[in-house]
Amino acid sequence: MNYSSYLSSTWMRPITDFDIPEAHVLAVDDSIVDRKLIEGLLKTSLYKVTAVDSALKALEFLGVRDGCSTSLRPNAFQVNLIITDYCMPGMTGYDLLKAIKDSTALREIPVVVMSSENSPNRIESCLKEGAEEFLIKPVKISDVKRLRSYIRPPTKAPCSGSGETLGPSPICSKRKVGSLEGLQVKSNPESQPCLNGVIVA
């Protein structure tokens, strides 16, 4: 979707009673059941939802390529909240959180982490790394209602004169997000591994 169609679709949408024109949430979870559940939960709050099954796909969606955020897609400006599972094979939710907060372009996007494990260490490290909140699974309707306060207002993408297509973003940060191979190394602060390194299904 290019910038002009993004603009027109935003203007034409009715304002919700949250006064945020259809907030877009990026949900990240390797479980197909949990993705369906989080979609259902978010849609009742009238959010637009994109659900992906891995942290790498989430970064791809946001336009991070080869560890560098030079080619941010309009998606990054449309995403008002990221909600991610902690325990995922390969790159964990914690790694994803770190990658986002380390990126100049992406760090403003609020991130919420979900986990089935109620581990104080895990919770503390995520909050320290900049997560807005840590939700214990299974996620409930009341949890999602609280997310409203974290949604950031829509960011305007930079115009390139005509405002038609996005050229290279002036917000481009040559600072590396961190090599993706490096991010696959377990960097979570817990002594017990979070099922990393085991590729299931």
């Binding site: 479980s31 197909i32 059941v33 949990d34 369906k36 559940l37 259902g40 939960l41 849609k43 009742t44 325990c87 089935s116 699974k137 299974p138 996620v139 409930k140 309707i141 009341s142 209602k145 099922l195 085991v198 299931v200 299904a201």
Partner: protein, 231 residues
């Protein structure tokens, strides 16, 4: 009730017929004025009376038909009510027996006009995903030696998805199962696998029964008796 109405209608019809008959007899022979309204005392009266009787008989028949229809509708309403009660009883029993927990109620609350099939969609995904996981677990436990890390990873996934849909007993067995994995207890793991299959099959058949009842209610034009959303 229906029978009373029936006999009443018949009685009215019979009465009218006999009245008409007596009227006809007394009026026999009187001359009928062809022009203008009848002032009475002629054969026209008899016709009118007969017409009235016929009309009343028709009315009686129509009333009878209505009664039949009303009773049919009453029976249909009773059916829907019975099905709704059966569905509520089933749900309550499953919650009381901890086969399902409050998370399942959350799913029901998320189902609405914009998302009319939400519960069955999530649950279907759970059935599919669980089938896959159970297959992998069965294979993994046949290995020599057992890769307990891999087994544990699968059980962790199963625990997560069963928790997300509120399948409480399945989740409870998964917790035990993970402990057996941690202890590298082969026999314990085997037992847990059998148990988790049993609990899964139980919740699956109960949920399928629930969906059947829901379909029947909706086909009969009823609405689903879902819990109110709580904040």
């Amino acid at each position: 009730m229906r029978e009373k109405r029936e006999s009443k209608a018949v009685a009215v019809a019979l009465k009218e017929t006999s009245v008409a008959a007596s009227t006809t007899t007394s009026l026999a022979g009187a001359e009928c004025k062809p022009s203008g309204p009848c002032s009475g005392g002629c054969a026209c009266e008899a016709d009118k009376a007969a017409a009235v009787v016929a009309q009343k008989q028709q009315q009686g028949a129509a009333e009878q038909e209505e009664d039949v229809a009303a009773t049919g509708a009453e029976e249909a309403v009773v059916d829907v009510e019975r099905l709704q009660k059966e569905l509520l009883d089933l749900t309550e029993t499953l919650l009381a027996e901890e086969v399902l927990d409050q998370q399942f109620t959350q799913l029901q609350q998320l189902q609405d006009e914009s998302n009319p099939e939400f519960v069955s969609e999530v649950v279907s995904l759970f059935f599919e995903d669980s089938g896959r996981l159970l297959g992998e677990l069965t294979e993994s436990l046949k290995q020599e030696p057992i890769n307990y890390v891999a087994v544990d990873a699968h059980v962790h996934q199963f625990k997560g998805s069963s928790s997300s849909i509120g399948a409480q007993k399945v989740k409870a067995v998964c917790i035990k199962f993970r402990n057996c994995c941690e202890a590298r207890d082969r026999e314990g793991c085997q037992k847990c696998l059998e148990q988790v299959k049993q609990e899964f099959n139980l919740v699956k058949s109960k949920l399928e029964h629930m969906f059947e009842l829901e379909q029947k209610i909706l086909s009969a034009g009823g609405s689903l008796p879902y819990p109110e959303e709580d904040y």
